[in-house]
Symmetry: C2
Subunit: 452 residues, 2 copies
């Protein structure tokens, strides 16, 4: 794996400046296309374009497939429509081609599609461009190996040879009926093992046990769930009639898994856009500001809650404000995280809302009693006095139980209404629990102050 | 995909009670092994065992491979050593068998291994059990297809037929030299396309371009990185001499990706063990308590910070304690999350520590100035007075800048020392920033109070 150090890149850029093209072409020729793509991701657009023209045809396509989206968009917008026709539409698998074209101006895409020599490829790509993003159709490639169940082994081998040149990795051979409806699969292995019985019919060799497929309009989350669940390397995509349209390969599903995980992680950490630490200061700021603004609003709300209470006559209550606010936030984040993960991986219906909340109530009570006992003892031992210690420990118990229930309830509710429950992890839960915690704390504080 | 509702399970359990074995066997026979495994994951152990004995031999093995770890351990401990020999060691791929055996008592494993008919299989599995968890060796299976470069196509096809019955998915045929050293691969596709030239040597057909492999003692993180980076469905594993030992398939890498993502998510949410919402109340409590205790400690620390300041004469400062604490925590969590994600996906060296911290400083300053301006205006408009508004907005700027730097610095430092940077996300950063935020707030508060 190539380590892209600052020195390596500087050396490369120096060679570009000095125009040492032969040397550069050789250096690039020895790299994996993915490594070349990493270089393009890390240097300015003009220099990437310079290096791109030094690549051979096949590598050009492979590099385009591996570039980051914004870098790829920049590069493609500098290419001629002829280059796009050759390097993108003809050179890439249909799904990667459609991905790459999706961000270009429509007129440019149309011209490039007209320039493609094999008009069948062009229309396949055009077809793929029509699928809505986030569906199985948008992830699938049309390249696959398809045989008919009424063919003999000998004919199948001939046809597969003819089809195979278009397909980079075969994985599975799909068996269809004479209408094109998917009804089985044939492993290369069984074909290899049966190659000697050339006249057997595929109908008798095909495996139709546990054949998993997905309809074209289903979501990419469902794609990932099925592929992960059944350990598939390729998932066939069919239309509502069962006609085989394409297949989704595991590398694309892995990309979706990683993107989803990053997104959930960022939401839980209060980051609202997909950012990386190499993005610009402004992009990073913009991604972080929304949560901070919610936090500010919460903070002002908190000031009102405290202001509504007679703090001047009970200033010692101020001491444990940070504790109460932090614990409410923490417990809420924990509950919501467990629920969100449970919902994401759920294939088992774990019972109804009430049952889940009752469980959360138990966890909250146990945690609350432990924490509240600890804080009572510490606070008395540290000399904060009986009144304050009682107030703090009673409030803490209530705050923990409330935050646990609330943190579990909100994502469950969102999920019921088909809203992404991950939205309820970071900012919303913490801020809401902060304020509620303060209200509980000062209400109990007033009560105790009046009783004493 | 089977939806496991409460009713479905209750119905199944009723049939078990009534001993309607024929009906049960038929129901189970129609399910995908993964669905059967889900049922086992959701019902008591004795009932799983009852259903297990109704499965046919092959399904037994497939179900074992799919069970959750704790459920599988429970089931295996109820099986005889003969059953373990047949259903686990002989029935599963070597990597899954080794996984399943890892949690059983050593004596039981040894006896089961002795009962295995094919002693070569037994010794392969025994060999795999020796690899340390978390390494490439622990993930690999020994089942693969291997040909020698000096063989002809005709011989290769014969040998592949012989080897293929052991290997569920072939994916790639590995080419080795006469010492067993990996030096190329052969796609099934090229074999199929060249099957007619039976006398060509594999040396001339093999593809040794961009052959990616991994050494057996490398980490599973490296496995995932390579497979994701180069879109591999199978990664060959070699020893330090380059001898081919086994291969890791993509389904196992996907499991590692998902586990890692869940772990990072839980750490960021303050959950210290791998838990699911169906775990017991006590497990859930234990996983959540550590962060809460850290939070308690931080809260007591916060009380001391506030106590050290003359709050009785400046009680209005109490109003904005929640705001300052929350904002410090939020900003710290954001910075650390971006750094942790950057480190996890980093294949590009983005420059040194100072450069990264300078960038974080800029982001912190921009966010800080915006938030601080907003809070100053709101606070003045809401009538909190000039003194308090000045104190709060100046403190907020300092707190945000400090928290941004601190949140980025800690995970970067941990990573330099080869400690998992994800440990610095949730509890540690929030608590540290809470306290530091209070110190900054009250120091500025004292300063402003003395100046006025």
């Amino acid at each position: 794996m190539l380590e892209l150090t600052r020195e390596y890149l500087d050396d490369l850029r120096l060679k570009i400046e000095e125009g040492r093209d032969v040397e550069l072409a050789q250096t690039l020729g020895e790299l994996h296309p993915k490594d070349v793509a990493d270089i393009f991701d890390s240097i300015p657009g003009e220099e990437s374009l310079y290096l791109y023209r030094l690549l051979d045809g096949e590598t050009k396509s492979e590099v385009i497939a591996e570039l980051e989206e914004d870098v790829r968009e920049g590069l493609l917008s500098s290419l001629s429509t002829r280059e796009i026709a050759e390097d993108v539409i003809e050179g890439l698998d249909s799904d990667d081609a459609a991905d790459a074209l999706a961000d270009l101006p429509e007129a440019k895409v149309e011209e490039a599609l007209r320039l493609v020599e094999d008009q069948e490829t062009a229309s396949e790509v055009m077809e793929l461009l029509r699928h809505e993003e986030g569906t199985a159709g948008a992830l699938m490639a049309v390249e696959l190996i398809k045989v008919q169940e009424d063919w003999t082994v000998a004919r199948a081998i001939r046809e597969i040879r003819a089809q195979a040149s278009d397909v980079e990795n075969i994985y599975t051979i799909y068996v269809v009926d004479d209408q094109g409806r998917l009804n089985g699969r044939l492993s290369l292995k069984s074909l290899l093992l049966n190659a000697s019985s050339a006249r057997s019919l595929l109908r008798d060799l095909k495996d139709d046990d546990e054949l998993v497929s997905i309809e074209v309009h289903e979501s990419e989350e469902m794609v990932v769930k099925l592929m992960e669940r059944y350990d598939l390397v390729a998932l066939p995509v069919v239309d509502s009639e069962g006609i085989l349209l394409g297949r989704i390969t595991i590398d694309d599903a892995v990309d979706v898994i990683i993107e989803d995980a990053e997104r959930d992680y960022q939401l839980a950490s209060g980051i609202s856009e997909d950012v990386e630490d190499k993005d610009s200061v402004w992009t990073l700021t913009r991604a972080r500001l929304p949560w901070l603004l919610i936090g500010l609003g919460g903070g002002i709300g908190g000031a009102y809650v405290i202001g509504a209470f007679d703090i001047e006559n009970n200033p010692e209550l101020a001491l444990f404000i940070p504790l109460i606010a932090a614990m409410g936030g923490n417990v809420g984040v924990q509950s919501s995280a467990i629920v969100v993960q449970g919902l994401a991986s759920a294939n088992v219906n774990m019972g109804n809302l009430t049952a889940r909340l009752l469980k959360e109530l138990s966890v909250g009570l146990v945690n609350g009693l432990i924490c509240s006992a600890i804080i009572f003892l510490s606070s008395v031992l540290l000399g904060f006095g009986w009144t304050l210690s009682t107030t703090v420990s009673a409030s803490l118990l209530c705050v923990i139980v409330f935050a646990a229930l609330f943190g579990a309830f909100v994502p469950l509710m969102l999920d019921k209404r088909d809203i992404d429950p991950a939205l309820a992890t970071g900012p919303f839960i913490t801020t809401a629990n902060d304020i509620m915690g303060l209200i509980i704390y000062f209400s109990i504080g007033s009560l105790v102050a009046n009783l004493m």
